[in-house]
């Protein structure tokens, strides 16, 4: 391998990259916009569940229950309907999430210990909202139940219901805030997209323009060519990572608990695998459109199965298996471990091994697949 050749290729790539202001803008604007906007949008906390209470009882207790529900910060009592039909119409119009029906004689039945039944109808088009929303409501009702017992019912000598309460402590992300969880993950996606698209488009563009023929007829070896194409984007990938980590600390106050060096070490390996894949795919594409389409498909599958938005544990077993082969999934796990949990390099060793194996397969494959003659 001739270092002078690789050096000439790297210099040329950088000269071309920085010649085009659009590239520089993309390198800076993309991380900033993605990291500032996406974490805000990708927020799974269900706030403001809109509840409509249909009260047929109009008793002191039903008012008390209504008041208690309205007082919950996550719930917004949007309307009080006169009939259940009216509440359902509101749901049709997407104005409410849950319709809670308080039956007539609610208070009387409760006091007479006749187990009145409240019925809640939940708008379940958005499953997440439906389940979290009804959980909030259940909690309020359970609490309400307990208080009623205390107030109205004579307590037995000993409490027949064992009062075991679970108190939660959220380790690693004590305030359960979404940015701490999402920002590192989005940073991974960013790094992946920038690296992948820059490298694959670059190689295929040379095919389109025809300059690649001039390289193919030169003594540049396949390995020198692939390294000459890979190293510039490897460096740019690490620049994006640096920019992303800066944004995470300045705007979100997220400082990795573990060492930044561990993140860079893993990212370096990760970029080798991702760029290897990008260059492998571009060996088979003839036009930028082709490679864009294929990259889009690959990226989408990688990202959706990466555990960024949905937890890997809740995937079906076959999908969980695929995450072992998904570089994005590995990096997302690793960056969350290091940033939130403060994991050390030793803790992430299994992932390092997997990534090294991927890079070790994809890079030689990219070199082999690149054709200097036809």
């Amino acid at each position: 391998m001739n270092l002078r050749i690789i050096q000439a290729m790297i210099r040329k790539e950088f000269a071309q990259f920085f010649r085009d202001p659009a590239n520089i803008r993309m390198l800076i604007v993309m991380p900033v916009v993605q990291l500032l906007l996406l974490p805000l949008a990708a927020d799974y906390e269900v706030k403001r569940v809109r509840v409509c209470i249909v009260d047929f009882d109009h008793s002191q207790l039903s008012h008390e229950l209504t008041g208690k529900i309205s007082a919950n910060p996550h719930i917004h009592v949007g309307c009080t309907a006169q009939s259940f039909e009216q509440a359902l119409q509101g749901m049709e119009r997407d104005e409410i999430d849950i319709a809670l029906l308080i039956p007539a004689h609610f208070e009387r039945d409760l006091v007479m210990n006749q187990n009145p039944v409240l019925s809640a109808s939940v708008h379940a088009v958005n499953g997440q909202r439906a389940s979290v929303g009804s959980q909030y409501l259940m909690q309020i009702l359970a609490d309400f139940n307990r208080k009623i017992r205390m107030q109205w019912l004579q307590l037995p000598k000993f409490n027949p219901v064992p009062l075991v309460d679970i108190s939660h402590t959220y380790l690693y992300n004590p305030r359960m805030d979404y940015p701490s969880y999402m920002v590192p993950g989005i940073l991974v996606i960013l790094l992946t997209m920038v690296g992948f698209s820059l490298a694959s488009l670059n190689l295929v563009r040379e095919k389109e323009i025809g300059t690649i023929e001039q390289i193919n007829v030169s003594p540049v070896r396949k390995s020198e060519f692939i390294l000459g194409k890979l190293i510039p984007f490897w460096i740019l990938g690490l620049v994006v990572l640096t920019l992303g980590l800066l944004i995470a600390s300045v705007f979100y106050g997220i400082y990795p608990r573990g060492s930044v060096g561990t993140i860079y070490a893993f990212a370096s390996l990760y970029l080798l695998a991702i760029l290897g894949l990008a260059l492998l795919l571009s060996a088979f594409a003839q036009t930028q459109q082709q490679v864009m389409l294929v990259s889009y498909f690959v990226m989408l599958v990688f990202i959706l199965l990466s555990g960024l938005y949905t937890s890997v544990e809740s995937m079906p077993p076959w999908a969980q298996m695929t995450t072992h082969l998904n570089p994005v999934a590995h990096f997302i796990v690793v960056i969350r471990m290091v940033v939130l949990k403060g994991s050390s390099f030793r803790d992430i060793l299994p992932h390092v091994g997997a990534m090294a194996a991927m890079a070790g397969i994809l890079l030689p494959l990219a070199i082999r697949s690149y054709r200097k003659h036809f």
């Binding site: 001739n2 002078r4 050749i5 050096q7 000439a8 290729m9 210099r11 040329k12 000269a15 071309q16 010649r19 085009d20 323009i209 025809g210 300059t211 023929e213 001039q214 390289i215 193919n216 007829v217 030169s218 003594p219 540049v220 070896r221 200097k372 003659h373 036809f374």
Partner: protein, 245 residues
Amino acid sequence: MKGIPVIRANELTRKFGAFVAVDRISFEVHPGELFGFLGANGAGKTTAMRMLSGLIRPTSGTASVLGYDVYRQSEAIKRSIGYMSQRFSLYEDLTIMENIRFYGGIYGLDSRLLAHRADEMLRQLDLELQRDQLVRSLPTGWRQKLAFAVAILHRPRLVFLDEPTGGVDPIVRREFWEWILNYVALGNTVFATTHYMDEAEYCSRLSVMVDGRLAAIGSPSELRRQYGVHDMEELFLNLATSSFT
């Protein structure tokens, strides 16, 4: 006087599916020759040249270039030749100097030698003041001259030129061929394709390709005598039309 042939092709053939692009051509090119490859568009000139420079594999037949086998030693061939492709081969978004540095670099020239040759070359091309200008901004004729200069930056003994003067005005074309003749005069060999028949007169020997086959080969004067024609245009028209009968 002729020495060992620089190029020796024997029954060289390339098929693309059922289409025979190059059909059993045999010829030799000797050191110090300016060898012309004439033919209409699609006659197989470029395919033949790409086989000889190691860019595509022949389907059958044999060929050696500078003593290297085109099947097994294509990378050794690439180290020793210069090549200027039909499509514009310089990077338009790089400056003249950046292009020179890149191509010099991938042929392994060290920076001192490269700087020396770049200076010499830019002086000859009269482009010293434009060295930091983007190639995009140069007129076509200059770009082609620059592309040729870059193709011989590593001083190859054999240079392949694929229609080097396409889209260039007659004055620059003449300058261009003088340049090529100068390079040949240094003892190098040049193999050039063209479909401008007047350019054939610059060649020491030439061959005419028609539909993938070699229809004629010889020096311009030999060919004129042999076919009883006044110029290459007439020869070419005779050969090309006779192929239809």
